[in-house]
Symmetry: C2
Subunit: 335 residues, 2 copies
């Protein structure tokens, strides 16, 4: 099992990414990680590390990097030797089994589609993401790859996310909800109403519309929406979680009594913070591409990178793409 890792992606530097790779290697004896980036730089960063794990770390030279705000189209067109293009090329040629990047997600998606192509029958690949809930995490798709969608696209998101959730979260037949503004059939915009009809008449485990309030309750395994709504749902949640932490801090700092309380409570506090921190949740699988790719949050911790690598290996091993194609074939008349 060989996973390619964009060692230049993310906001926190490549040392942390290499830490993540080594943790993943430690946990799985058959795992190798290929680091992508400028060879000299990476050699230097790996050189001062010890431990048996480093033997399963290799470097592939990729001199160019794509910055967080670069246009995906430009990045793919003009930077043929970027870490993400080289990484997906390794996957294409069989030199790696999957690719993980915490870099520019639009560019990573574009590079994946360019190098690997789409799965047979898939109109629009997309990005799925896990949201923390009161119970198990819920998988929401799409979180930003496709901003203007048709119902057929959302229908395919349901198939892809449900295959992936079955595998990653060990769900037998994941329940699927359609994100809308009311639970009743008939509530929602035109796109939702059309998608509802498609899902309703399918054999998928569709439970109907779910509302924004339901996302964090954890009562459904998969939630489907277009990439515009999904991205805003994700970002608004991240923003609120961040703001809530700051508001709580401000309230605590207002009194000595609360400050004393904080001294006792801070461990519980930090577990809570971790639980809400999106950067802690492995990565977001690119679904619908002919291969395995995972996008991580730009501010991922080494733990998150380690989880994402394990997740990628898991997706390869359990052939999530085969499951998607197989399910899709049952509905070819519908898409």
């Amino acid at each position: 099992m060989r996973i390619a890792l964009d060692a230049m992606g993310g906001d926190l530097g490549s040392e942390l990414l290499i830490d993540g790779a080594l943790s993943a290697i430690d946990k799985r004896p058959d795992l190798e990680v290929v680091l992508l980036g400028p060879e000299d730089l990476l050699k230097e960063q790996v050189a001062h590390r010890s431990g048996t794990g480093t033997g399963r770390l290799s470097i592939v030279h990729a001199p160019q990097t794509v910055s967080m705000h670069e246009s995906p189209v430009d990045a793919v067109r003009k930077k043929k030797d970027s870490t993400i293009m080289v990484g997906f090329d390794l996957v294409k040629t069989g030199q790696a089994d999957a690719m993980v990047s915490a870099g520019n997600s639009g560019a990573t998606m574009a590079a994946a589609v360019r190098k690997l192509g789409r799965l047979k029958g898939i109109a629009r690949p997309g990005i799925a993401s896990l949201f923390p809930t009161l119970k198990d995490p819920v998988m929401l798709m799409d979180i930003g790859a496709n901003v203007d969608c048709r119902s057929q696209h959302l229908f395919q998101f349901a198939i892809m996310a449900s295959s992936c959730s079955a595998l990653l979260l060990h769900k037998d037949r994941p329940t699927i909800g359609l994100l809308s503004i009311g639970e009743e059939t008939g509530k929602g915009n035109i796109l939702v109403k059309k998608t509802h009809a498609l899902l309703q008449q399918s054999a998928l485990n569709f439970i109907g519309n779910v509302e924004g309030r339901d996302v964090y309750r954890g009562e459904v395994d998969v939630i489907v929406c277009d990439g515009f709504v999904g991205n805003i749902s994700l970002k608004i949640s991240e923003g609120l979680a961040e703001a809530a932490m700051q508001m709580l801090k401000v309230e605590i700092m207002k009194s000595l009594r609360a400050k004393i309380g904080y001294f006792f409570i801070r461990k519980a506090f930090s577990s809570f913070k971790k639980r809400l921190d999106y950067a802690e949740y492995g990565g977001a699988p690119l679904l619908g591409i002919n291969g395995v790719g995972i996008i991580c949050h730009g501010s991922s911790s080494s733990v998150a990178i380690c989880n994402a690598i394990a997740e990628a290996a898991n997706m390869v091993e359990n052939r999530v793409n085969d499951s998607i194609v197989k399910t899709l074939q049952q509905y070819t008349e519908q898409v």
Copy 2:
């Protein structure tokens, strides 16, 4: 100043609504509140109250109530004597200056449009709502009245919310952001791109796209989006705030040390909770109707009801609708 209050709306019962009305009356010497609901019931509930404020409380009989999940179209068509229909009728005939309801928001909106009509030039009335942020609250519109919108509708939301924010939040020239999935011009779905162009070429104080993350930062006064996205943004925020409280509780209950800490910190905690609780924030103004109406959260506290009544009076007094119509006239060629 006479405000009509739907005394049967909301999840928490009419006693609490009457408490809210009396608090509002206490705060403003020229204020009268008209309670709407079954006369006998309300008479009984008012009878056992004392204080000078009750003299400015009157009752108008409205025998029918609309439940939270009733179809707005049906409610307006079949229940002519419902609290909301009777309430907006009072506004129409000048017997009340504004209407406040914590009931079914779709039905309240529909009743307002049916009874009062739209403001001159407004294509789609909508609902604005205040979101708590790290700084001043931000006004987001639309939060659910219009699920499928055109750019002209969003442009008008910008005008309406900005007039309302100027008044309610005492902003001189409120900054306006367009909710999208990237700050750069050109990011977003088709609707956002078209709306961006309209706002850009207007004289409104448009600062460009804002992302989901920016909502809670409080760096912008008004955020514009369609009602589908706005409703999901609101509901997902409410859901996350609720879930976060529960997650924190679970973490605290895990250790004795944290439980002790909680004892000291709980006051700060409860202020924090209030700050995040949407039900605490007065009400959501219906904008674009030819009159003043406010929708409150179903689980509004009496404080929230009191705030909403004051907000309604404020909107009447400061002629927010005149300001909307005036601004709109400057752009009639655009809409």
